[in-house]
């Protein structure tokens, strides 16, 4: 079984910051906007190097989205930065009308997504953002899994014409994807080949899926692990090819099971190839205060939960 090495824990938001720094050097049309969270979003470097292209909006996210939409008129490529909650739910109508419906080339970059924001609690832990964003016509939705992938995705979306939601997080997590990768929007990554069960994960749950596959392997279960970094457009072929082999699937995400990656995959399977599916996700609940590890354990979003889900789905599989 293929294994992956953690080259050292890093936060995905720093991957975003590093990508933005790179874009500052290579693409003069890239501008950055932030709503009073420059440090949290790791946008300081861009601000320092390109003050004329950095716009401090203040605590006014609705205004930030509108200004970003306006800046595209004149050829700029705006990257907005704030927490995922304030990047989506708070400004849904602004994104819907001024960005998505108006076909504007805005990159909505969202940190501190999900439970792993930790101690600040449920007011800040959005678990509904993927659903909100994937429902908007024309919106590309990306949820990256580690530092390197987040950096590569940040660079890649500048070359993609159209609105993008890029979701990442706060905690330090294993960094295991290649440093020199090219990020391909909409292309699933086959991390481990397997034959008994497909595990599809996104964001912070991808590393957990790799850990789960190790445990399952020790039990004699061959798990195929796929990283779906792009929730929309979804790489349907990768999912169907894998499930045609394994006949069952576990989906894992730091998001509500209503509206998330799992439901997108259910739709694809129901249309083309019905198969048993288990959801590692939050189940229609808000989060709460705690450390990221405590929360991920309490809400069943770790390797152990994925192993259990795989065991359960295997029992439901008809050969």
């Amino acid at each position: 079984m293929k294994t992956y090495t953690n080259t050292g824990n890093k936060d995905t938001r720093s991957g975003f910051g590093a990508g933005l720094t790179e874009l500052g050097k290579t693409n003069e049309n890239v501008v950055a906007l932030c709503a009073d969270l420059t440090g949290s979003l790791k946008m300081n470097d861009f601000e320092k190097n390109h003050p004329e292209r950095f716009f401090q909006i203040g605590i006014a996210e609705a205004n930030m989205i509108g200004i970003a939409a306006g800046m595209t008129i004149g050829g700029k490529i705006p990257f907005t930065g704030t927490f995922a909650n304030f990047s989506t739910g708070r400004v849904y109508d602004q994104i819907r009308q001024s960005v998505a419906y108006s076909d504007k080339n805005v990159k909505i970059c969202a940190s501190h997504a999900g439970l792993t924001l930790g101690e600040d609690g449920a007011t800040h832990q959005i678990l509904e953002d993927l659903g909100l964003m994937k429902m908007l016509p024309g919106m590309t939705v990306i949820n990256t899994c580690d530092f390197n992938q987040t950096k590569a995705a940040t660079i890649a979306i500048a070359d993609h014409e159209g609105p993008v939601y890029l979701r990442f997080g706060r905690p330090s997590v294993p960094n295991f994807t290649p440093e020199d990768q090219t990020f391909e929007i909409g292309k699933a990554l086959h991390l481990i080949e397997g034959s008994d069960v497909t595990i599809v994960a996104t964001g912070h749950l991808v590393w957990e899926a790799l850990e789960a596959a190790k445990t399952l392997n020790e039990e004699g279960i061959s798990a195929e692990v796929i990283d779906i970094h792009t929730i929309k457009p979804l790489d349907e072929k990768a999912i169907l090819d894998s499930v045609s082999k394994t006949k069952c699937i576990v989906t894992a995400e730091e998001h509500n099971y209503l509206g998330g990656l799992g439901e997108s995959i259910s739709r694809v399977l129901a249309q083309h190839q019905p198969a048993p599916q288990e959801f590692v996700a939050t189940h229609d609940t808000f989060g709460e205060s705690g450390t990221p590890e405590q929360l991920m354990e309490k809400y069943g979003l770790n390797a152990e939960a994925i192993v259990k889900a795989a065991q359960n789905v295997l029992k439901r599989k008809t050969s």
């Binding site: 205004n63 200004i67 004149g74 050829g75």
Partner: protein, 281 residues
């Protein structure tokens, strides 16, 4: 550049267009559209420095953003009569498969429209973004926007008003259509906004008042003044006092015609008050 009489003739024709568009589909917003007819005609025929044709980025020309998108009839009529698309297309207003959606949008690729609007309160932020992009591009042209007075009840406007002054967005001229009416009644009855001039000035804007907002000469003079105040470190607000439904006597001084179309008889009456000048579409 057209003379004042030509602008007045065009305004009369635009009023006919507005009435006929909303009558045909028995929907749309004639009141605010009629009240802003002179402003749109002055803006597109005289005030703005526009290029031929339409390019979304609008580099090297003045830009306009309509924030109160429900007055799309006047916007569409003036865009068509300023050469952005054939006037015959006004016939398709609010019909299925039309580029002239109920509220303006870029989605169907209608030339002249740079942002969707309709959900209120978003246009000033967009105009600020476009104005800042112009500065980044070393483009000295101006950005204009129009907002309803009732629309200022949306909080996003005040985020934008605060930001534009703090960041010296002085290539922006935002006009507020002060007709004092909104759907549920007068703005004072629904949610009084107090002294808007004092509010804008307190937020750091320069304010120009046009008391006769349905008088072409007064608009030209007031907007020329607004232009002369651009580039001096402050965004410019124009408070344009208009009469909702102007030019059609039974639609004036009331909010009743905010979003209601005239019947056959009312249309005839309204058209008689505004005789054909440049030819109907």
């Amino acid at each position: 550049m057209p003379n004042t009489q030509e602008l007045k003739d065009l305004t009369t024709q635009v009023r006919r267009d507005i009435l006929r568009m909303v009558h045909k589909v028995n929907s749309g917003h004639p009141g605010g559209s009629l009240g802003c007819a002179e402003f749109f005609v002055a803006l597109y025929q005289d005030i703005m420095d526009r290029k031929e044709g339409f390019d979304m980025d609008g580099i090297g020309e003045d830009l306009f953003f309509l924030s109160n998108g429900h007055i799309s009839p006047v916007f569409y009529s003036v865009l068509a009569r300023s050469g952005y698309f054939p006037v015959e297309e006004l016939n398709t207003f609010r019909l299925i498969d039309s580029r002239l959606q109920g509220h303006p949008t870029t989605h169907e690729g209608l030339p002249g429209v740079r942002i969707a609007s309709g959900s209120l309160g978003q246009g000033m932020s967009v105009a600020i973004g476009a104005a800042q992009a112009k500065k980044l591009n070393n483009d000295s042209h101006l950005v204009y926007s129009l907002h309803g007075d009732g629309e200022l009840q949306e909080g996003q406007n005040w985020e934008a008003i605060m930001y534009a002054a703090a960041n010296k967005v002085d290539n922006l001229i935002s006009t507020v259509d002060l007709n004092g009416q909104q759907i549920d009644g007068s703005t004072d009855d629904v949610l009084a906004m107090g002294d808007l001039k004092a509010k804008f000035e307190a937020f750091g804007w320069t304010v120009v008042e046009i008391d006769k907002g349905n008088d072409i000469e007064a608009i030209l003079e007031g907007m020329a003044k607004a232009k002369s105040l651009a580039g001096k470190g402050k965004p410019v607000c124009v408070l344009l006092k208009t009469i909702m439904g102007h030019g059609v006597d039974f639609m004036m001084y009331t909010h009743a015609w905010h979003g209601k179309a005239p019947n056959d008889e009312q249309l005839e009456n309204g058209l008689q008050q505004n005789p054909e000048t440049l030819g109907d579409y």
